[in-house]
């Protein structure tokens, strides 16, 4: 097997798996702060119980996020050493800042948040939750700054030896691409957490166990879900897409499956791209919509893949096409289901509408898929570049690390992450099964779980 492909798979596998956890961490951190805020303002103990319950799931999730995140920090050097050497003068900055500004904050206050409820006043405990939230969102920011520089390099100069050096610190942090991508990404994280909260809430209500807490989960989850689903598309997704069309036109053409430059380009809702004969099989197309989405007028010209030499097409191109369509399709579904749920919540009918509770219960995997597909769109869309327009992916990997060694460690990670997945699912299921009532700050058992409603 080819070393470049193995290095790509190595990073793709470990980062895809890793990001399943931080997306829930970041979204849930916000929702836990919301729950704790309501608990304090309304002096309602049930919201504290709800926060404690989600803190237990948060703790397991955070742990897996941390242990699978450590390899990410090292893989730039282990598997992508040419890239690391050339770009360290720029992206070393945000990566180091993530460690210094976010990880210390997060780890310190997570300890206080999980272990310190009895030692802290309610407000101090709220503050510890808030600082964990802040830490996780700062962490996300620095990672996005790093990625955004690879997508859209700004504020740098090239040195004679081929390496890059930062020229403006604020320019790097204010990269427009980073700000758009950050908003889009964080909104996506809140969607994941909202759907998770709705799912558990729907489970309790449908089971008629802990249904009082289930309703709290549904209320908070549906409202947060609706807001984040809408902002995911407008303005964040919309702006990000337009910016991308301007700076990575080849990626957008490939995402949309647009082989030929067109005025009044239509949008392909579904279809199977055929790279060889350069067409979409079985297309379902809505005329003029793509031009309108990107340029605001139905007759604007959109560049197709024919404008770009074959060696600058993103690869694997069909996967990019599917990833983007899965993301966009699921995003539309999210708005739909959350709008219906929110309307029913407003009319006071949500908790008895089984036909909505069932989809809410079953939908929790979809945001994970959508977030993953979104990242695949971003990362495959950038190909064949590791730093867009500056450095090809084929120039970035570690030449000294053989294909055999890479495969060895890829298999190792696969095995290890399989075990982690099993542990995670078992433990989260147990936590849900035990329910929110036993998780008092005393760690005391209140006897067998009973329906509180």
């Amino acid at each position: 097997m080819d070393a470049l492909l193995l290095h790509r798979l190595h990073f793709a596998f470990t980062v895809t798996y890793h990001y399943l956890f931080p997306q829930l961490t970041m979204g849930l951190a916000l929702l836990i702060v919301v729950l704790k805020t309501i608990a304090i303002r309304r002096k309602d103990e049930r919201y504290n119980e709800a926060a404690r319950f989600w803190a237990r799931i948060f703790a397991i999730n955070f742990l897996i996020g941390v242990v699978t995140g450590i390899p990410m920090e090292f893989q730039f050097g282990t598997n992508w050493s040419q890239f690391a050497r050339l770009t360290g003068g720029v992206i070393g900055q945000p990566l180091a800042m993530e460690g210094v500004f976010s990880f210390f904050l997060e780890s310190a206050f997570l300890g206080l948040f999980l272990f310190g409820e009895k030692r802290l006043s309610p407000v101090a405990h709220w503050a510890s939750a808030f600082l964990v939230f802040l830490g996780s969102w700062i962490s996300g920011f620095f990672i996005i700054v790093t990625n955004a520089w690879m997508q859209h390099p700004v504020a740098f100069r090239t040195l004679p030896n081929g390496s890059f050096e930062i020229t403006s610190f604020w320019g790097l942090l204010n990269n427009p691409w980073a700000l758009l991508q950050y908003a889009h990404n964080m909104s996506g994280a809140v969607i994941t957490a909202s759907f998770a909260m709705c799912s558990v809430g729907a489970f309790y209500v449908l089971e008629d166990r802990f249904s009082e807490h289930g309703r709290i989960f549904l209320r908070v989850g549906v409202i947060a879900g609706l807001i984040s689903c809408v902002t995911q598309i407008f303005p964040t997704g919309d702006l990000h897409g337009r910016y991308m069309a301007k700076h990575q036109p080849a990626a957008v053409a490939a995402m949309e499956g647009l082989f030929v430059t067109e005025k009044g380009a239509g949008i392909v809702l579904m279809g199977q791209p055929d790279e060889e004969s350069r067409r979409i099989d079985n297309p379902i197309v809505v005329n003029n919509v793509l031009s309108f989405l990107i340029y605001g007028t139905t007759q604007a010209e959109v560049k197709g893949l024919d404008q770009f030499p074959r060696d600058q097409w993103p690869s694997p191109f069909p996967l990019l096409f599917y990833a983007y369509h899965i993301m966009a399709g699921l995003g539309t579904y999210f708005v739909l289901i959350m709008t219906i749920a929110a309307l029913l919540l407003w009319r006071g009918k949500l908790f008895s509408s089984r036909w909505v509770l069932w989809p809410l219960l079953l939908s929790f995997p979809f945001p994970y898929i959508a977030n993953t597909a979104g990242w695949m769109t971003a990362e495959i869309g950038r190909q064949p570049w590791i730093v867009y327009g500056l450095l090809r992916t084929s120039q970035g990997y570690s030449k000294t690390v053989s294909a055999g060694n890479t495969l060895f460690t890829l298999l190792g990670f696969m095995g290890m992450y399989t075990i982690l997945s099993i542990l995670f699912i078992v433990l989260v299921y147990r936590t849900i099964d035990k329910g929110p009532i036993n998780s008092g700050p005393e760690g005391m058992s209140h006897g067998a779980p009973t329906a509180a409603a």
Partner: protein
């Protein structure tokens, strides 16, 4: 600037070893010191709220290394590929075993994670010691600054060394014993009664081994790296470093005998820190020496990032460290004193 960042990275790595060192030590010792589940939980609870923060020093140190010395980061991380991957797997297993142990209350579940916690902690200590020894010994750097080492070859330090050879294994054993002692002293500080007595007893017994292997490591280093005293000869004042090492070692035994666990623990911190400083003094200005040709050495100047990046970095780094010290102060203050099994919502 290079001098400054060399020592800033060194400080972060020293902080990592001193802080995460004691919870690694607790992992190495807990099958031996704790006689029952209550004692095991006490030991785990002593490190529960802090281990994750301690480990952040490794991540932040790694990130800072990438930022300040990209060539070193790229070269060392790809060259020590297999060892680093194993370290990553061990860190994963160790984190999981600390946090997941209490999730299910059956003997089999707990014993499994106890075993995993011990194995991963002990192996990590050995690997960290071996890693430092690798840097001291040098690696076969090519002129482009890259190399690749298999895990082991013929166990000799010659032309084609492996990550493990007789010298780096000595380094690993030094780390294993030193961190076990360090962890035992932390246990003595944080617990009472029989567990505390056993921890002190362990220190007194292991101390002789630690002294022996520390003494042994000096001539071993001279053989593996004949020029490692060059800086010391140039700046004789630096010979104060080994003196402090042995004073700190003496302090560990003296204070531990007297029951002054905090002082003994402080001496152990000094011992670990100064051992590393000693290695750093021997290295500077090299970051990673070549075992084949001194012209291939990765030096501070060769690996250093751009001047503007380093200047900006100094500002946020200083701010970040002040914040980190505040967090650590808050957390260690909040969880100060002896541990008990009663007052926490989240179990280990």
């Amino acid at each position: 600037m290079g001098f400054v960042w060399f020592w800033l990275v060194a400080v972060m790595l020293v902080a990592y070893v001193v802080l995460d060192g004691f919870d690694l030590g607790v992992g190495i010792l807990h099958p031996f010191l704790a006689r029952n589940d209550v004692e095991r939980r006490l030991m785990l609870r002593a490190i529960g709220p802090v281990w994750d923060g301690n480990e952040v020093w490794l991540l932040a140190g790694g990130g800072t290394l990438y930022f300040a010395f990209p060539l070193l980061y790229a070269s060392a991380f790809s060259g020590f590929y297999l060892a680093l991957m194993i370290v990553l797997w061990l860190l994963i297993m160790r984190g999981a075993s600390i946090e997941l142990r209490a999730q299910i209350n059956t003997n089999v579940w707990r014993s499994f994670f106890d075993g995993l916690f011990f194995i991963s902690s002990a192996t990590l200590a050995i690997f960290f010691g071996a890693a430092l020894a690798n840097v001291i010994r040098g690696v076969p750097l090519a002129d482009d600054g890259y190399f690749f080492l298999p895990l082991w070859t013929n166990w000799r330090v010659g032309d084609s060394p492996g990550i493990l050879d007789w010298y780096t294994v000595i380094g690993g054993v030094v780390a294993l014993v030193a961190l076990a002692v360090h962890g035992a002293l932390y246990v003595a500080v944080k617990t009472e009664g029989e567990l505390q007595q056993r921890a002190r007893l362990f220190v007194r017994r292991a101390w002789v081994v630690l002294l022996g292997i520390t003494v042994l490591s000096l001539p071993a280093t001279m053989i593996a790296r004949p020029d490692s005293l060059a800086n010391y000869r140039a700046f004789p004042l630096a010979f104060v470093v080994p003196v402090i090492v042995f004073l700190a070692l003496a302090g560990i035994l003296y204070y531990c005998r007297g029951g002054a666990d905090r002082m003994a623990f402080t001496c152990s911190c000094i011992y670990l820190a100064v051992m590393m400083v000693g290695a750093a003094v021997g290295l500077y200005p090299r970051l990673l020496p070549s075992s084949v040709d001194p012209a291939h050495d990765i030096t501070v100047q060769r690996a250093l990032s751009g001047a503007y990046a380093l200047r900006v970095g100094l500002m946020w780094w200083a701010l970040g460290m002040v914040l980190a010290f505040i967090y650590f102060f808050v957390v260690y203050r909040m969880f100060r004193g002896k541990v008990s099994l009663e007052d926490s919502g989240y179990d280990h």
